[in-house]
């Protein structure tokens, strides 16, 4: 067979270069060029309309002292720190329930997954009505239970947690499905052996299910970290970064610098710095998880 495959290596190489061409062009135009250009922008001031102006390290000096950017990063971290654990726990909980012998698994799974496929715009808009102070669904529900109304999106303390809860609701279906696949790949003889040894339900979860799910947990954490750090459309639509900038996310801040104030050089610098941070966080997570696995 090898001989046959080598029959026309030059023809194969020519075909390959044609087949790779679209990707190669796209890579040059939409990745290599933008990356190189970002690097150039970092050292310039530019408002798009007038020529670029060399400013040396001024953008970086400005970034280091930019309290707003720090604030935006802090807000994004608050979001991620609430969102990821909540997501992990809920996803694991529902996946464990769905993994039981139950009727209607397909129906439940499909329902939990529904918010994943619907546009973030729709979700943000509906949750705006759910969180509304005067007539929101949640506050009506609280009133029915005889509890006081809560300023879900209008108080500094609650706004970001509210957005994190909504984002969890939107994405948890995906992670339920990932956990379910992980659970179903655990060989059942492990549980049979544990049964012979008289292990309790909790012991089986702690010493079989949980360790065997470790790769899925790592995947879920990495995916939701990357997703979490790109938080944009929710605060953009729901709070416009308020109240008092408590929901100003890093991407929203970069967007405003670029497209509201036309500070392209500075926005590129922010984007570069933020991407490096996310990259570092993901690398650390991978190191930690590999360290645990070893």
């Amino acid at each position: 067979m090898r001989g046959l495959r080598k029959r026309n290596p030059r023809g194969q190489a020519r075909a390959a270069s044609w087949m790779i061409l679209p990707y190669a062009l796209h890579f040059l135009v939409f990745l290599a060029y933008p990356l190189a250009f970002t690097f150039v922008l970092v050292f310039h001031r530019w408002d798009v309309f007038t020529p670029m102006e060399w400013v040396g390290l001024a953008n970086i000096a400005r970034l280091v002292r930019d309290e707003w950017f720090l604030r935006a990063i802090w807000n994004t971290l608050v979001f991620v720190v609430i969102h990821i654990p909540l997501q992990l726990i809920l996803a694991l909980f529902f996946a464990l329930l769905l993994n039981e012998k139950i009727r209607g698994r397909t129906f439940f799974r499909a329902t939990y997954f529904l918010p994943v496929v619907v546009s973030g715009v729709v979700v943000s808009f509906v949750w705006l009505q759910i969180y509304s102070y005067e007539s929101g669904l949640l506050n009506q529900l609280l009133a029915l239970l005889g509890l006081p109304k809560l300023p879900w999106l209008t108080s500094r303390a609650l706004a970001m947690p509210s957005i994190a809860i909504m984002a969890t609701w939107k994405n948890v279906g995906l992670y339920i499905v990932l956990f379910l696949a992980g659970l179903q790949s655990i060989p059942s003889y492990l549980y049979e052996v544990a049964d012979l040894d008289g292990a309790s339900g909790w012991q089986k979860f702690r010493w079989i299910t949980f360790p065997m799910l470790n790769p899925t947990v790592v995947l879920v954490i990495v995916l939701s970290t990357i997703g979490g750090f790109s938080l944009f459309i929710e605060p953009y639509m729901m709070t416009d970064g308020g109240p008092e900038n408590s929901t100003l996310s890093a991407v929203l801040y970069i967007y405003r610098q670029a497209f509201d104030f036309y500070r392209m050089g500075y926005a590129a610098t922010l984007g570069f710095a933020f991407a490096l941070m996310v990259f570092a966080v993901v690398l650390i997570q991978r190191r930690v998880s590999e360290g645990e696995a070893a």
Binding site: Q12, A16, F27, I102, V117, V126
Partner: protein, 280 residues
């Protein structure tokens, strides 16, 4: 998945399990049901928690259609998402085929480059890509909405992975018969790879349909706006003059096509994302 032996039982008991699952279903489905039903209610009754009203009607939809070019936006979204999906499937399968089945110099480094580019977050390339669009005078054109998404490294990887399992004998036999590589791809490999094509197509279509940040940046003309963009501007901006019912109708129209697709292709949607771990 099949032939399941008894698993460690949750300590909730069967009733508890169904109760928790049912509560979950209500929590995940109710907001969408509420949105759809409220869009049919008169303005006075909208904020009620109840789903039903005796005055359901399409008046909000009629008003939305009069106020904003929603059919034009729907058409734009369909054109853009369909074109992007077709391009990603065709170009992705070409690249994936070259990586999986053709011998050429640089195929290993290429694979490494693709993996690396998938780690570059979109925040870095957003601004320069916008500037590129301005320089090319592509802002306010379909080109700006399509070209940046027309090829994806992710699709190359999915196709490569799938094509590796296509037997070489089959391809070699076609080569012996004098079949060119492009014809082998379209006549032999494509018909064998429907699952991979469905996965890539669903993920691409969904993320293209739901994309809103990029259109907000490159499109300013109302006639060229995509549906999510138009709905965002409509719902956030003052266009609806605080008419909640109209905003809900617009949001429902935005959700409807993808939910309809999801209802029919539910299994494929879920499997696509479960196997790749991505939301597109």
């Amino acid at each position: 998945m099949r032939s399941r032996v008894a698993r460690p039982s949750f300590s909730l008991g069967r009733t508890g399990i169904y109760l928790a699952l049912g509560l979950g279903a209500v929590v995940f489905a109710y907001p969408f049901l509420w949105m759809a039903m409220s869009s049919l209610k008169p303005e006075m009754e909208i904020t009620s928690l109840a789903l039903w009203s005796s005055h359901l009607g399409l008046h909000n939809y009629a008003q939305v259609l009069r106020k904003i070019p929603i059919f034009r936006a729907l058409l734009n979204s369909v054109v853009v998402s369909a074109t992007v999906t077709a391009c990603v499937v065709v170009f992705g399968s070409m690249g994936g085929y070259a990586l999986a089945k053709l011998r050429f110099r640089g195929s290993r480094p290429l694979l490494a480059v693709i993996l690396f580019t998938m780690l570059v977050p979109m925040h870095v390339t957003l601004i320069p890509t916008y500037i590129l669009m301005v320089k090319l005078r592509w802002t306010d054109t379909y080109l700006a909405l399509i070209t940046p998404f027309a090829v994806s490294g992710f699709s190359l990887l999915v196709f490569r992975q799938f094509f590796l399992s296509v037997p070489n004998d089959l391809i070699d036999a076609a080569r012996v018969d004098g079949c060119g590589e492009f014809r082998i791809l379209t006549r032999i490999v494509w018909p064998l790879s429907r699952p991979a094509m469905a996965t890539v197509a669903i993920l691409t279509f969904m993320s293209s349909w739901n994309e809103v940040l990029w259109p907000l940046i490159v499109i300013k003309k109302f006639d060229l706006m995509t549906l999510p963009q138009l709905v965002t501007i409509f719902a956030v901006g003052g266009q609806a003059e605080a008419q909640l019912g109209m905003k809900l109708a617009a949001a429902t129209l935005l959700a409807l096509p993808i939910v309809a697709a999801y209802v029919f292709l539910q299994r494929y949607f879920i499997e696509s994302m479960a196997t790749t771990g991505l939301k597109g």
